[in-house]
Amino acid sequence: MEQSLSGKLAPIALPDSEGRQIRLGSLWADSSAVLVFLRHYG
């Protein structure tokens, strides 16, 4: 069975602007989340 996109992204951990590592899946583990990919910070 094909993995959902959210399942594919969930294990990826990225730093926030303060350097804290955030696992993407934690954003939507318990509630819905809107995740927006910006083009760049310009």
């Binding site: 969930a10 083009r39 310009g42």
Partner: protein, 134 residues
């Protein structure tokens, strides 16, 4: 410029997302310093993540534009719209040709909505994102 326009729209709707029990987070390229300056400039309070290696962008299947996109009529329209709303280009990011996207997930690993940007200035509207929330 388009990033700032998009972030301003998201900020305006942040409370509406919260009212539906949803969190909001954004991912950008560049480094932490760049992200911190962007956060200070735009005043956003939701999480702003940094994907220096484009790991999440690749996993999400997001597209990359080319110079030809600059000639597209829809880009000219979007530039005009963003400028009229008072948004201006500040710094160019690490990869100015990277395109964005918007997703609604969860709770749990459930995909509810996906929007892959076709070109610069092409973003899902906050109203559409709100409608995709359970």
């Amino acid at each position: 410029m388009f990033c700032r326009e998009h972030v301003a729209q998201l900020r305006e709707h942040e409370q509406a997302f919260r009212d539906k029990g949803a969190g909001l987070a954004a991912i950008g390229l560049g480094d932490r310093l760049y992200a911190r300056l962007f956060r200070e400039d735009t005043g956003i309070t939701f999480p702003l993540l940094v994907d220096e290696r484009r790991e999440a962008y690749r996993a999400a299947g997001l597209r990359t534009a080319s110079l030809l996109h600059l000639l597209r009529r829809d880009n000219a329209t979007a530039r005009k719209r963003a400028r009229a709303a008072g948004h201006h280009q500040h710094r160019f990011g690490k990869n100015p040709f990277q395109l964005g996207g918007s997703f609604v997930f969860g709770p749990g690993n459930v995909d509810r909505y996906a929007y892959i940007s076709e070109t610069f200035g092409d973003n899902a509207s906050p109203a559409t994102l709100l409608m995709a929330l359970p």
